[in-house]
């Protein structure tokens, strides 16, 4: 790692919660004292060995970490170029990377004496992870989910209810993930004394973007030693690729490599029907501009008057008009590249992964895989790509069946 902190990409955020101009604490006064308290408690926990000991124990015995780093040999041969590895976070308990972060936040909430946990969810993966950990610790759990997403992710809604969570369908605004986040913030403002807001991605006011990134960084840290084990001491990936909704699985994979200049970093946004003036996509970096929403400054999909637009993606988990502020900063500073993949391309990648590797991916990492399919054939065989297989596709089979014209009625 870089000795020279001045040239490091890993020192952010500053004490105001900024990554360059991005991030910050754009919240109402009612929440400000809570956020400052959270920051203080997290800063303390971060350096407390007993906190990490508890995390490590649960990561190992409850989540199933470390997740495998898997050489996708048939996919590699099929694409005929770079050597492709998948970081198998879809094998985690609850089927996605989301639980890495939830465990951290819930352990912190318990240490803060909070008894009620609230969360927002899009695809339902973060909601399921939160409901799961709350069940394990006997905490009350309330999950806000856009009414539209409740419909398209019905299996996850039932899972959350089985796990004892209350799922509140959000009809305010247009009833999507961003509205679910608004309602979660409204709940938090109302129930400030006993409630902890467990945010599911690297967004929200400081310290959330940094805290969620730190919890998800276990992904990239494992990749470092796992690749060295399989490819030889000191071997780093040449390219790391991950899909981006808010950007938590991507930050988790990217962060430990930010100061390794040989590692090319690519984030893949949801291109929906294509990134153009119709704005039927969720590519905040490639199709948006800086603004302020949900507690931070970042790139947002918005109109000329600063009103926030609804995104569009086949993947509920990527359907968010913003992106974590650290990504906005990595984008502007040029350290990471951001591209977009359309629904159609993601569906092709989804099917290829099923057929060649026996892995049914979630639609979110299918976006990352689709970009791998684009670049791998152009790269030499000794070029190593690590893509984050951050979720499994069980939740998506209904959506995919519909798009492939397969009748699932039984």
């Amino acid at each position: 790692m870089a000795e020279d902190l001045i040239n490091s990409f890993m020192t952010g955020p500053d004490e105001a919660g900024r990554f360059g101009q991005f991030g910050g604490r754009f919240v109402s006064e009612t929440l400000m004292p809570l956020i400052l308290d959270l920051e203080e408690r997290y800063e303390y926990a971060k350096t407390d060995p007993t906190f990490w000991a508890e995390m490590d124990d649960l990561w190992k015995h409850y989540v199933g970490r470390p997740s495998p780093l898997y050489h996708a040999a048939r996919l590699t041969a099929h694409l005929g170029g770079a050597k492709i590895y998948m970081k198998r976070d879809e094998l985690n308990h609850t089927g996605a990377h989301k639980i890495n972060n939830v465990l951290g936040q819930i352990i912190l909430a318990r240490r803060m004496g909070k008894t009620r946990i609230i969360a927002e969810t899009g695809a339902g993966q973060h909601g399921v992870a939160t409901a799961t950990v709350c069940a394990k610790f006997g905490l009350k759990c309330v999950v806000y989910m856009g009414a539209h997403d409740v419909e398209r992710q019905a299996p996850n809604v039932f899972r959350m209810r089985l796990l004892g969570a209350e799922v509140i369908p959000v009809t305010s605004g247009r009833g999507t993930l961003k509205d679910a986040m608004n309602d979660a913030l409204r709940d938090w403002v109302t129930n400030v004394r006993d409630t902890f807001y467990c945010i599911g991605t690297v967004a929200g006011p400081h310290p959330y973007p940094a805290m969620v990134r730190d919890f998800q960084s276990i992904i990239g840290k494992e990749v470092r030693w796992q690749l060295a084990e399989q490819e030889g001491e000191g071997r780093l990936p040449d390219t790391v690729i991950a899909a981006i909704g808010g950007g938590s699985n991507a930050m988790g994979l990217f962060y430990p490599f930010l100061d390794d200049p040989t590692v090319r970093i690519i984030g893949v946004e949801a291109g929906g029907k294509g990134v153009d003036e119709r704005m039927e996509h969720c590519a905040s970096l490639t199709g948006g501009r800086p603004g302020v929403l949900h507690g931070n400054r970042t790139y947002l999909l918005q109109d000329d008057d600063g009103q926030i637009l609804e995104g569009f993606s086949i993947s509920a988990g990527l359907d968010y008009p913003g992106i974590g502020p650290e990504h906005a900063w990595l984008h502007d500073s040029g350290r990471a590249e951001y591209v977009s993949i359309t629904d159609k391309e993601a569906l092709e990648a989804f099917q290829l992964s099923c057929k060649l590797e026996g892995i049914i991916p979630a639609l979110e990492p299918s976006h990352a895989l689709a970009h791998v399919m684009k670049i791998a054939p152009t790269l030499p065989r000794d070029h190593i790509i690590v893509m984050n297989m951050c979720g499994r596709g069980d939740k998506d089979i209904f959506t995919v069946a519909k798009h492939l014209g397969f009748d699932m009625k039984i």
Binding site: E29, M32, G173, G291, V292, H294, D305, G306, Q307, I308
Partner: protein, 263 residues
């Protein structure tokens, strides 16, 4: 001295409490909301809070959320809201106007441009919900420099340690949010609010106005009697939602204003 400072000075001289009314610009359409706005001073409103609609009003309850949606669907923009203020000023050069909303539409327009245009239109103060003191450099400091008041919210979670920070760059008046919650939620009891207002008044010379959850003349009176005035928003906006004619809404406002003024 801004119009806000002047208004509170004259209320103080008369020994009267202030009544502040919130309406949403462009709700349900520009003409109706302008007609309503023009009628507010005669109904007894001392300070007008003019809501700037935003797609994601995270501190507002359903009533004001829906008002913002109606306004946006009707084509309301920040420019039209500023034009509305300029139009109002043609017939009223004394009633203070505070624009209230969220930061992104202002940031999107550009802070300096917005402040220049707001000042020119006749705006006196700003309440921007998602700008706590920690983000003062964004808009608060530039607004004060441009001659606009920046009115901050103090809340039940603003403890004694934090209060000086909240008051530091506040001007015009302090808006005490009487509950932890969103607009339109249940009202606080005057008995609970009194000590809180006293706590804030001990730390500032600015008037302290209390809002959130007030919907009747009786509550307006009770709350105003323990503070320097009361704010009503959702209860007025609700009447617009119910498509009540402007004179009927203004009659309701007059009742609230009389309540507050009788304190």
């Amino acid at each position: 001295m801004t119009r806000i400072d002047q208004k509170f000075a004259s209320l103080k001289a008369e020994g009267k409490k202030a009544f502040v009314a919130y309406i949403m610009a462009g709700d349900p359409d520009l003409a109706t909301s302008l007609a309503l706005m023009k009628g507010l001073p005669a109904a007894g409103v001392d300070v007008i809070e003019l809501g700037m609609p935003f797609t994601d009003p995270m501190a507002d309850g359903p009533t004001i959320q829906l008002a913002g949606q109606r306004a946006l669907e009707g084509g309301q923009t920040l420019q039209k809201t500023l034009d509305m203020v300029a139009e109002f000023r043609k017939g009223d050069s004394t009633t203070p106007i505070v624009m209230m909303g969220y930061y992104n539409p202002i940031f999107s327009r550009g802070v300096d441009t917005f402040l220049k245009d707001a000042k020119a239109a006749g705006v006196d103060g700003l309440i921007v919900v998602d700008l706590p003191p920690e983000e003062d450099d964004e808009l608060c400091i530039p607004a004060q420099k441009a001659g606009l008041n920046f009115i901050r919210l103090a809340t039940p979670t603003t403890d004694d340690k934090r209060l000086p920070k909240v008051l530091q760059n506040t001007s015009g008046f302090v808006y005490y949010v009487s509950i932890t919650g969103i607009t339109g939620a249940a009202a606080a009891q005057a008995g609970d609010v009194g000590p809180e207002v006293a706590r804030i008044k001990a730390a500032t010379d600015l008037p302290v106005i209390v809002g959130f959850g007030i919907r009747t003349p009786e509550t307006a009176r009770a709350i105003a009697s323990v503070a320097d005035g009361a704010v009503v928003g959702s209860a007025i906006v609700k009447m617009v939602e119910e498509k009540r004619p402007v004179p009927e809404v203004l009659a309701f406002v007059k009742g609230l204003a009389d309540g507050a003024h009788s304190a």
